[in-house]
Symmetry: C2
Subunit: 226 residues, 2 copies
Amino acid sequence: MRRTDRLFELIQILRDGRLHKGADMAERLGVSLRTIYRDMDTLIASGLPVEGERGLGYMMTAPITLPPLNLSLTELEALHLGLAVVSKAADDELKAAAQTLSQKVDAVLPEDRAAPASGWGFAVYPFAEAARGFVHMAPLRAAIRSRRKVEIAYAALDGEETKRTIRPLQMEYWGRVWTLTSWCELRQDFRVFRVDRIKTLDVTFDNFEEEPGKTLADYLDRADAE
Amino acid sequence: MRRTDRLFELIQILRDGRLHKGADMAERLGVSLRTIYRDMDTLIASGLPVEGERGLGYMMTAPITLPPLNLSLTELEALHLGLAVVSKAADDELKAAAQTLSQKVDAVLPEDRAAPASGWGFAVYPFAEAARGFVHMAPLRAAIRSRRKVEIAYAALDGEETKRTIRPLQMEYWGRVWTLTSWCELRQDFRVFRVDRIKTLDVTFDNFEEEPGKTLADYLDRADAE
DNA sequence: CCCCAACTGACATAAACCTGTCAGTTGCGT
DNA sequence: ACGCAACTGACAGGTTTATGTCAGTTGGGG
């Protein structure tokens, strides 16, 4: 096996984010342990986020690696604008992530492509209403990802407050507010909630599967038909 | 010179986006033309956006290359959300760029990190008011980048229409509308315009330099003081 | 104190890679 | 039809890199 192929195999092995011993990888790839040590040196030097620890083994520390991407100038502008929006118009976790990603991108751009001193020509100012819902966004994003039911207390326009269990499907950003499209178990129908009007929110340990008639696709189909 | 060093030099030569002949690069780097052909094969195979044309030479087609980036899951979400916003809430050029960049990112993610069938859990819907200004955004972005004065016909809130020459400094996205911060030569002061209320817009060939008292930093300083 | 596995330098040997030369082709524009 | 420069395969020779072995160190946890 050529060395470059073996390096690629090592990345695939490590990608699972688990702990791996050098000796095991050596056996698997049919080379000596010393060679694996040399290979790991090379991968780490090239920036792969892996850590080795004596007595333990190797583990990848950041699970997602984007390979080299070729961008046009407009794509770079779109990237910066998009990250600027998220830096302002989402919850603290997403804000921080957008900021660190923007910094990472700026750090690797060639000097002639880096941000001009005056910035990229964009600024973003979120609506106060949108900002009020931020407190719920991180748990909602996690619930959407892992498909867990959520219990909310919701204050409708008329002030009436209801408690209900929902299946969160998607959040929408309208510029002024964030909304949440869900399947509502109380009403046995789809409902769209203003995120800023959710009073309390608890993510349950109750998972939900895709049920015909209750998925985001069903909701969108119905919306298209109307 | 080692081969890897030469490959790096080739990238630097090509980065200017101009046409380059193999023979010239061979002479410059002190190797045979055949070796340059082998090198170009290697760079193209690795994804460098270069095209060769018989009778002409080589040229780089996309000037910006991001090296491998390691992202957390939240950074990936922020990236997708940001690009989703730009895919909806900006001019056609930026929209297209955001879409192609999003596709590029999705194409290179490992399967377990790619977009779930139901999407990333976000949707974005722009205000119609914001959309009305889109027609002016591409020329404005270009004018901001290259610091060229712009002639606009502007319809203020009371309906009065004025023609004026401005120095575009920055655009702001408020969710509902886009605005443009400029130095107005008619009023000899900073002015903020609603992009959707600009009736006509012409980018001139008149460049402007940074003048003390008339820069974006001056405007922001004044805004902070108020 | 012992165990675990990462981590390192030095050396000899083997393997892989790179280069220049040569002769040839291809596609486009004039 | 010609000129231009990319593009290709084959070959010989030279250079560089990689590998395994060996003996040693380091740091953390139990």
